[in-house]
Symmetry: C2
Amino acid sequence: MSKLVIVGTVAFDAIETPFGKTDKILGGAATFIGLAASQFHVDAAAVSIVGGDFPQEYLDLLSERGIDISGVEVIKEGKTFFWSGKYHNDMNTRDTLATELNVLADFNPKVPEDYKDAEVVMLGNLHPNVQMSVLEQMDTKPKLVILDTMNFWMDCALEELHNVIKKVDVITINDEEARQLTGEYSLVVAARKIHDMGPQYVVIKKGEHGALLFHDDNVFYAPALPLEEVFDPTGAGDTFAGGFAGYLAKSGDLSFENMKNAVIYGSTLASFCVEKFGTERMVNLKPNEVHKRLQQFKQLTQFEIELA
Amino acid sequence: MSKLVIVGTVAFDAIETPFGKTDKILGGAATFIGLAASQFHVDAAAVSIVGGDFPQEYLDLLSERGIDISGVEVIKEGKTFFWSGKYHNDMNTRDTLATELNVLADFNPKVPEDYKDAEVVMLGNLHPNVQMSVLEQMDTKPKLVILDTMNFWMDCALEELHNVIKKVDVITINDEEARQLTGEYSLVVAARKIHDMGPQYVVIKKGEHGALLFHDDNVFYAPALPLEEVFDPTGAGDTFAGGFAGYLAKSGDLSFENMKNAVIYGSTLASFCVEKFGTERMVNLKPNEVHKRLQQFKQLTQFEIELA
């Protein structure tokens, strides 16, 4: 088993969907990534920052699942990062209602000493300079660095984003963002251009349409499980990334064939995440439920045409 | 091997895409369905209508591939159905520039005597009353009736459409049309509602995002092959349906497991169709190319997670 470092936000979210709305609940990329990765009982540490307003029980939730939180800085006099959004009826688009950076504005990530030799680093969606700072703190070169990002950084920190993209092995990005980053409509062409920017592996997330994994001339397509209803998509992408990173950290096998499995685990966990508001479903997720859904994924995609 | 009856248009298309434009070329649902089904060397007959302006070489093209064209009526003094469309840059949306029904306006389909005992009937996109007329001409109840339709008939002949939907085993329909037909955004819920309208099997085509096959509580997801570029999407849905129907007619096995294979064959053939204008790619398609692409589909979707 490899050690896993996770950097990302730990936050308050307030969410409105056609099914209802929440007050401030637990959210943030590192939270969703950590909860997903914890399904694999990995040796993981979260690197993040919160304010004095952040409940201890939320931090306990991560540490009870074996996530080292010594790298989660608490600024007593500060306020926790807050995001609020409202999803449209199709659940594929959303409006951001509020973004309060608060303590995140001056976040200098600090990787715990024990994790500076981690083999796997998961750079959750954050300013590219923060992501880069984590990489620079590593004593040994990680075997696998995974980066998640979003269009916001393409708009306001493109050069810094390119600098960190150069340094990573895997990028996870959604389809519209892949198009924005490359100016290419075809995802095959976009993936090749991103590959040329640095990452050997490109994962393009397509929401309800699944995810594509590209590596050289190889492609793998993991569908999303068709769901009766998507209750709240918040955190689905982070959960996907956390499942992907957690599975690879656990197995230690970084081959393309095993990365296919990592994509399936990521998709499987993401399919749970969207069933309830925020982290609710992930917090209560049982191993036998995961196992059953993996079987559903097999039935969903496997066929028996015999080919010579 | 089962006999297969195909009803649909045989037509002229004029197509404009970001890659170029064509004059009047060979098109029509029955043409694409027939070309796809002919890959399986099935015993098939096309039921359609053309005008005196329709070149004999186009008809020969179908009969050379073993499609019985005795059910393709030629109205010497009439003109062939003509459709013209222009695709937008994303290739997912198009404007219809012209629709000239011509001989199609008075089409009374005539199933050849030899095919009134066919086990498989493929009702290509046409007025639901024409589709119904074909069903009524069958002497024996077919083992499998597959219906393809589109939003146009929901707008102008919804009651007639519901009447024929009641009579079929499989419906193939695209995602937006499934939503329109049911008023449901979730494709899982939409499929269940369509199931309640009659068809035991519901295939929802999602273009570049693949296709879903629903049966009771079972779902199968065939991705579309990620392509560098889609040259011309015209006929892709018909080609999918033709591959699906042709494979099932050939194998005679109508189980859900085998229908998964039929969906994969349909997707595979459709992935060729879009590579060139109109029927060009399908006319020149070689069996070894199909075999190679099926292998790509396997690599694209198969994974090795061992589950107890």
